[in-house]
Symmetry: none
Subunit: 137 residues, 2 copies
DNA sequence: GTGATTTTGACAACCATTATCAATAAGCGT
DNA sequence: ACGCTTATTGATAATGGTTGTCAAAATCAC
């Protein structure tokens, strides 16, 4: 039987309050900052459940971290994510939608879904890192 | 200065001989089976270098493993992957490259990298699944 | 060949994630 | 409302992939 716990609800809300993607660790940290004593393992479990239920989306960052986002029922869009500070901008991508569909069709693929996310350094972090750092990508 | 070592060459060849994607660990294992005493750390380094040079492609498996593949085209490209049988097609995406760059620039982002992969059902699997199955994405 | 320097590789360190398991608490039947 | 059953929690250990360390070995310029 599935029980309702305040922890699961807390994770769901924290995820809803988050713009774009967030890692399990970051979400755990955010929850702690609000005073919630929720455990890390529980956050992982809750996120896994949400993803399994289709209430959340997950993707792998280039660094191999698993990132989660609240599954917005408000439609399909993509993200521009700062790999330094985590700032996320939602981006419409009609152009890419069309491209993905066409490419899939050209190769006989059906039921095409796609993962399209852009990672970079936001303007602010670019300035901060300009003092000597060399980003690799 | 960059030096030529048999280890690096061995990794490059092993990768060339591999159909599709392979993990660093698996590649290390394969090399050992052929009698090569190459070290694991070296395999990781070589793969990283190849990927940085655009001679290899890397992507994150759903399990968080990094998978590598010899790049048939030396340029940057993306993948169309059958979520049923794993068939992978390399796709050029100049259109998307341009889009990604423009979107990043529009928002003041720099050092933009992007994850663009299309998952679907290849023609063959579409036929196979036509008999009643309903893919989830 | 000699020497400066890169590269290697065994192993430790790291980090995200998962498993463990006793303690806790949710929800059912009463 | 109470107790009981059992899912859930959470501190911690374990896991597994990947990266850092650093002495030893190999490479290239000369």
């Amino acid at each position: 039987m599935k029980r309702n716990t305040w922890q699961r609800e807390a994770v769901r809300e924290a995820l809803d309050d988050t713009e774009g993607f967030i890692s399990a660790q970051a979400l755990h940290g955010a929850l702690h900052q609000t005073g919630s004593p929720i455990g890390l393992a529980t956050v992982y479990r809750a996120l896994g459940d949400l993803a399994a239920n289709g209430e959340a989306d997950s993707l792998q960052s280039p660094d191999g971290e698993a990132l989660y986002r609240a599954c917005s029922t408000t439609g399909h869009h993509h993200h521009l994510i700062c790999r330094n500070c985590g700032l996320t901008v939602e981006i419409a991508a009609d152009e890419v939608e069309a491209w993905a569909k066409r490419v899939a069709a050209d190769h006989g693929f059906t039921a095409a879904a796609h993962v399209v996310d852009v990672f970079g350094l936001c303007a602010n972090c670019t300035k901060l890192l300009a003092a000597g750092e060399q980003p690799l990508a």
